[in-house]
Structure formats: C-alpha cells, structure tokens
Amino acid sequence: MDEGIEAVNEVSPWEIQPITNDDIVFRQVPVSQRETFREKKIPLESHFALRPGEDELSFNLDGIIDVPKNFKLIGITHSRKGAFLDCATFKIFKFPVVFLKTLGKFEKIIHTPKFDGAPSPLGRPNNKSHSSLYCGEFNDGTRAQLRDYCKYNDCECPIDINSIKQEIAELIERHTDTPYHNYWEFDD
C-alpha cells in the first residue's frame, strides 16, 4: 500500500480474487506526529490523494488480511529512506466496497496482489491482499466523499499497538523468513 514497493517483477502465485459488494477493504494512512493545538479529524482528504505517477489508490482486502496483520505488515516495511515504518504512526480505516462504488468518479476496484519473490527483499514484504481502487485522478469531490464517509461512519479500526509490538520485533529479527516475505501461509 503505497509503502515503497516500486517494482514487482516476479509472477504472482496467487489467483486474482473477485471483489464483491459484500467485501470490506482497509486503507492505511500515515498520521502526522506534529504537535498542534488545532485538532483535526483523521483521515483528511489529503490521505486520499494520488502521489506523482500513481493512478490508483491502494487498499487491502479483508479476509486475506485482518487489522493486526495489516499493522504488522506496516511494521516490517521500509520507508523510502530505508528505516522500518513505525506502525504507531498509522491508522487503518475500513470501507465497504458497496460504498466505494457510489463514488462519483468510481471506475473499478480490483484485487492486485503484490509479489516480489519468495522471499521478497527485506523491508519489502509481499502483500497478497493488495487491492487497487480506480477513480480517475481522485479529484476534490472524490477525496471529500472518502473523508466524509469516515467522519459519519465508524470506520477506524483501532488496535492496541503494544499488543503487537513484540511480534513485529520478532518478525524483523527473522529478516525475510516470515510468511509476509513468502507465500502468506500463516499458522493461525
């Protein structure tokens, strides 16, 4: 999910899963740690803006991933500068696909798993749940609709970060010997 995976050359071993109206997708957004006296309700419209060169917004498909796994995936991913991301600086929001299809500029949402080898490079785990939302250029109206949906619905997926910190530390110690860097075969 926008997390620095720039090129995926390996052939994905995973079948593309159809995404239906009943499905839920997760969107992870970085939250500024800047101290401010003016409170802002996250997510902001800016969390749904495309980066230069992008034409789709990344989500993760519920069912293949869950909220704790999504946070762990963040925690074992490198930033562009090469450091592991701090998952405490992210929030995750859930969106029903049936809502996304009501967006004015909605084009399609498709399952687009990211596979970069088994194992994939350190800091660049595979993502079997990755999905792509296409809504043109994600103009102001689309971004406002996405934010407002979160504002008026219970979309945030809270988690006790401390409960998974130890597990993330263990995953990092394992380097690329983790399910995330391979075929996403989890014991649980």
């Binding site: 926008d2 003016r38 980066r51 230069p52 562009r80």
Partner: protein
Amino acid sequence: MKTLDTPENYRQSQICNPNLIKDYDGYFPEISRYHERDPIGFKFKFSKRVEEKIEPSFISVELLDKIYSVPSVLFDLVDEINDSKYILTLEDDWDNMGAIPISAELYESAINFLLMYAIYIYKDDNKTVIQSPEINPCCNGSIDFSWSTSGARMLINVKKKGEEFMATFYGYHNSNKLPFEGFIDMKNIDKNKASWMKELRQ
C-alpha cells in the same frame, strides 16, 4: 472570551459589539449585580457618535518575507495560518511514504488566495466571517483547504500546473446538497464563488 466579572469588562464587551449597542435602549439587569448600591448611575445610553467611532482593528500575519494586515475578527483564520507554517519545513518523504515537499511559492500563493477571499467576503457581505478551514499538505505537493460548516462543505486544492498555480474546488450547500465544482481564480475575486462561499460562515 473575556469574563464579565467587573463593570469595566462588561462595558468593554458592549463597546466591542455594535449590534448590542444598536439594540441597547435601557437598563442592563446584569450590571446591577455589581452596582446594587447605585444602579441609577449606569442607566446610560450610547450615542450615535460612539457607534461611529468603532473601527475594526487589525492583526498581522507574517508569511515568509511579507506581513499581511487582517481584520481582527478573522483571528481564527490567522491562528490556522500560523499553525500551518510547519508545511514550509516539510522535507522530501515527509510522510515516510514518498510525499514530496510543498514549495514556499505554492504555500505563499495559497495563503494569499485564502486571505484574499476571506477578507473580501468580510468586507463585501456585511462583515461575514467565514470559518477558518483546515490547511493540510498533500503527498503530491499540493495544499488542501477544507471546510465543513453548518451551512456548507467545501474542499479547495491549490497546486502547481506548469508554471502556474491553480485552485480546484468541490462543495455543496447543506440546504440542497447540490455539488458545485471546478476552478477558482486565484488572482482575482470571482464574485459568484465568493458569494457561494458565504455559507462557510461561522
């Protein structure tokens, strides 16, 4: 807000509120709490002359190497602008996910545009004060102004296109929810859009 714990504070609060001054035509019961011994002494009436002397005061906002003078009633907007100055310090990859920095020229141009419309609406529409928007940086190097008021919803995005800065917007009035979107002139006031934006008042 200043408490009305003394007669002097109370009197000052009335002087700062022209509407109350116009409406005043008699005795304020609240005052008597502080002057029970001699309430008659406060049965004053403001004259027209006092009302005319009331001038809007101004506050300044410093932006890069410029200082803007803003009617003091827009203090909340100035607060938000001051709070947003951190945007100028954002470096490459400021969100750890590849965001590009916001240029000082874009920031200055965007704030100038925001002040221009807020001041115009204040002056043109009987001192209407619009709510201050959230000012947020975007990962693509643009800036968002976001309003959500009891009257309207609006999002303005200021970005660079070629060598020019441009602003796009989306919004609706809560009374009819009809979407309104397009471009806004950043250099000159678009009176139609400024009129539409009056629904962003506090």
